[in-house]
Chain length 539, copies 2
């Protein structure tokens, strides 16, 4: 039997059902590009016609020239209707997607309770819808909803649903554990039987994580003969999420000898997982398997000394194969090579023997120790490296800021900020209001700078995150602020850390503006004259 597995990503459809996940059309297009680079074979983009974002996505994705097949999701025709008059099927066709994922019922209980129709009509709905979509030239993936619950309750009917779909022309028959309640040994038994009964029809598997078994269930199905896997990046999805491709791909490929994507693509897995988590704006748990920041982290003691002798002692795979890395939490042994490779990405050649380079590496490690985190703040890291390379010219001489929040009984809260700085010989003092302290600071700072640096008008803050570090110590705990900014063509992220949330925000704000203006000099003044330049961002 073939060891090739077809990877079907539904981050953009089922993934968006997760609580707290909402993707714009732009977000979806960014993620689609990244998924294509990772090498998934199908990208399910959404439900055409369900909302404006999905319509826009299907239109614009066609211009990207992706290798993956774009797939549109929809249900079988409504009961008692005709397929070619069904609005839903019509919109799937009009989406321009190469493939259709058609979901139909396979649990008799659901046919009666949810659809409120007969078992025969449900089969007809499936057959009609598939025939019609196939006539339109679409590849067809049939998602049998609640297949395992259906099989347990009425195996004959569940199988007849798959047979009907196959006879109507479905290219893949995907068995869904929609409620996520099925166990791995049950999946193995049922899929094995199916594989025999259907004479090796192309079977797919779609699982949910309600018992923390979605990954195991997917692997069971593959071992029993399934050859298409539906899942999402980071396991996003309704309730407890879908099967997590970031755990399934490396296990299948590195441990079970299946082929999903190329080794080179697999080494992009960690980067892809973190990118999608950033775009989806969902915090990635540090302990996420394979791709999490702690997945190959070792706390002190006996583990570390063994790891240093041979990393196989406490690591189940080489983290580099999936683009993650070993971290020794208590020592300063890691780090230098990562920073140098980051500089290389930016076309910056740093000589590791150079005194300047050693200094900047020491500085970055020290900042990380203080709570800075550059994985989510590339722009701040780039500024540090370019600064070390003598490329950064300062924009202004910082003198002071004040930030005032005032609330009077019966009135709305007011936030104001005051910024004093010098540009060239000119002293500038501005005041601005905002809808919160950070917004007020941002407004006052821009007001001070925009006459000299008019292209600041093109940029704006697009995201703001704040996290309390070491939360257990309430009065002395530090805060990390991440700011994302964008202009017409670019998005960048910066970081600030302080015991004071306002100071941390100011740091990240200033870095954001410095990055936007990289290469623009401080007019009429050499930065080296002023020791207090940018004193606040005293990384």
């Amino acid at each position: 039997m073939s060891k090739s597995i077809s990877i079907f990503d539904t981050t953009l459809r089922d993934g968006t059902q997760g609580e707290g996940i909402s993707l714009s059309a732009d977000d979806k297009l960014k993620i689609a590009k990244k998924l294509d680079e990772l090498g998934v074979h199908y990208i399910e983009g959404g439900i055409p016609g369900s909302n404006g974002k999905d319509i826009e996505f299907f239109k614009r994705v066609q211009t990207l020239g992706l290798h993956a097949k774009i797939t549109a999701f929809g249900s079988t025709r409504r009961k008692g209707s005709i397929a070619h008059q069904d609005d839903n099927l019509k919109r799937m066709i009009e989406s321009g997607a190469q493939a259709a994922t058609l979901v139909g019922k396979s649990w008799d209980f659901h046919v009666h309770t949810a659809l409120q129709t007969t078992l025969e009509e449900n089969l007809a709905m499936i057959a009609d819808s598939i025939s019609y979509l196939k006539q339109q030239g679409m590849e067809l993936i049939f998602d049998a909803e609640h297949f395992f619950d259906g099989y347990k309750n009425n195996p004959e009917y569940a199988v007849s649903v798959l047979r009907t779909a196959r006879e109507a022309g479905a290219d893949w028959l995907t068995m869904c554990d929609t409620n996520g309640g099925t166990l791995p040994h049950e999946i193995y038994e049922i899929v094995s039987r199916l594989d025999l009964e259907l004479g090796g029809a192309p079977l797919g598997i779609h699982t949910h994580n309600d018992c923390e078994l979605a990954v195991a269930n997917t692997l069971s199905a593959v071992q029993a003969g399934a050859r298409q896997i539906q899942g999402t990046i980071n396991g996003y999805g309704e309730r407890c999420g879908n099967a997590n491709l970031c755990s399934i791909l490396p296990t299948l490929q590195l441990k079970m000898d299946y082929t999903c994507i190329t080794d080179n693509q697999l080494s992009q897995l960690t980067n892809t997982a973190r990118y999608v988590s950033e775009i989806a704006n969902v915090h990635m748990p540090v302990n996420q398997p394979y791709v999490g920041n702690a997945a190959f982290a070792h706390k002190g003691g006996i583990h570390v000394s063994a790891i240093l002798r041979d990393s196989r002692t406490y690591e189940h795979i080489e983290p580099e194969k999936i683009g993650n890395k070993q971290r020794i939490l208590v020592s300063e042994l890691a780090g230098q090579s990562n920073i140098l490779s980051k500089a290389k990405e930016m076309d910056l050649i740093l000589d590791p023997e150079n005194e300047n380079t050693k200094q900047i590496i020491g500085k970055i490690k020290n900042l990380e120790h203080q709570g800075y985190q550059f994985e989510g703040a590339d722009a701040s890291l780039e500024l540090l490296l370019r600064e070390a390379n003598g490329e950064i010219k300062e924009l202004f001489v910082f003198e002071s800021f004040k930030m005032l929040v005032e609330k009077n009984a019966g009135s709305a809260v007011v936030s104001e900020a005051f910024v004093k700085l010098r540009i060239g010989g000119e002293s500038i003092y501005t005041a601005a209001e905002g809808n919160g302290p950070v917004n007020a600071l941002d407004n006052a700072l821009r007001k001070a700078l925009v006459e000299h640096y008019p292209n600041l008008r093109e940029m704006h803050l697009s995201d703001y995150k704040v996290r309390v570090l070491d939360e257990a110590d309430a009065t002395a705990s530090k805060v990390r602020v991440l700011i994302e900014s964008q202009n017409l063509s670019n998005t960048w992220s910066t970081v600030g850390v302080s015991a004071n949330v306002i100071e941390a925000s100011w740091e990240a704000l200033v870095d954001s503006i410095r990055y936007a203006l990289i290469g623009q000099a401080l007019p009429d003044q050499n930065v080296s004259h002023s020791p207090s330049v940018h004193g606040i961002v005293n990384h």
Copy 2:
């Protein structure tokens, strides 16, 4: 074969190896009590002698009168030494724990690479250590480290390790997948063979989640004959964590017909998981299986209408069995019964037909819709309910606050706050500095109140958390602040929400102080005279 499973919790030992998890002796005692209520059979408390916290824990836990057996963890005697002279074993005995978890090597590669000794000496280290601890009357759980890697590499040696342990008197032989790289079908095959080879010796299983398979691996081992499970609450643990008892217990008990704890104890599972996450100060993912806030949450559309007809359509178990609940995210159908049951817990009888009760339920739902979250802020919820019941007397009349953060080039940032309020006929205006804006506000507010309410001196803030809600909209996004406070006997949590982080913090601060002073009236003034009372906390 018996269907009874022995539950061994290692949250307090292996769980604390997780990145970002650090528990004080007090924290450990609180969690031990909660675990005992849940009904686990063993509580591994730590490594005696590794640090002061663990020594204190083992001493104080003996006074709690728990049902569970307290277990001390340690390694076999050092190579080339004598068991009864080994400091480590001595400390295990002196801990006063009823049971010992003794970890030994079972992978020949590790014996050579990490221990740097011979295979024979390793067997002697295991036999000697076990005999010695058994002579001291301790129950003995032998943890065979890297058992599965060992078995794959040299099955004869791995089995001889278990035989040696058994012959020396071990009560349980626990096979550890220390690196978390073994797959469920491998676990099943190996444990099945072991069960035969060792003639039904009492086997245990200890897995790690590096492949997102710790739960599946544990279930596989049980199906193959293991009868003790080692795991942690919420799956806390080194790297990607340990096997998650919160997922394993309900699956074994509700789906596989094994007996772990009583049904009544199982209904405390969600509460236990959330309690431990609070104490450990680790954010619980909303999508955590079984116990997460989104585990039984349904977004709008067809799912919801089917759920309302019959919840089995989209729920794999009844959430009440584990103490979780269904949430319909888009509708206002849920809620009332939860609030009434919460009031009952507080000995507050609210009549659901009463107009006042209807109003307060509407208010709480509305607040939740705005981003308030009362699950982590019991004190704020209690204030709302007692307020509705006419029990709360206001402490002061709020007039204004100002909060100023100032930074001058070359100097440290300064935070100051100014609070104006009236108590009785007296007008009070205070100013205070702080090490951040919230600390300054807290200081100024206490300064204003402490003369009238001197027992405020006994309380302090113990935790501060801030979360950006709807992070995608940087300028208009809301912030939720959670504050935990404590006095000598009590800990309570309050919440504030606003687009302005300072205002949200103020809200939570004021609630914290109101809760501390429940029952203390505003002197010489009736609250109803003043429409601006407490105007800022306008829940």
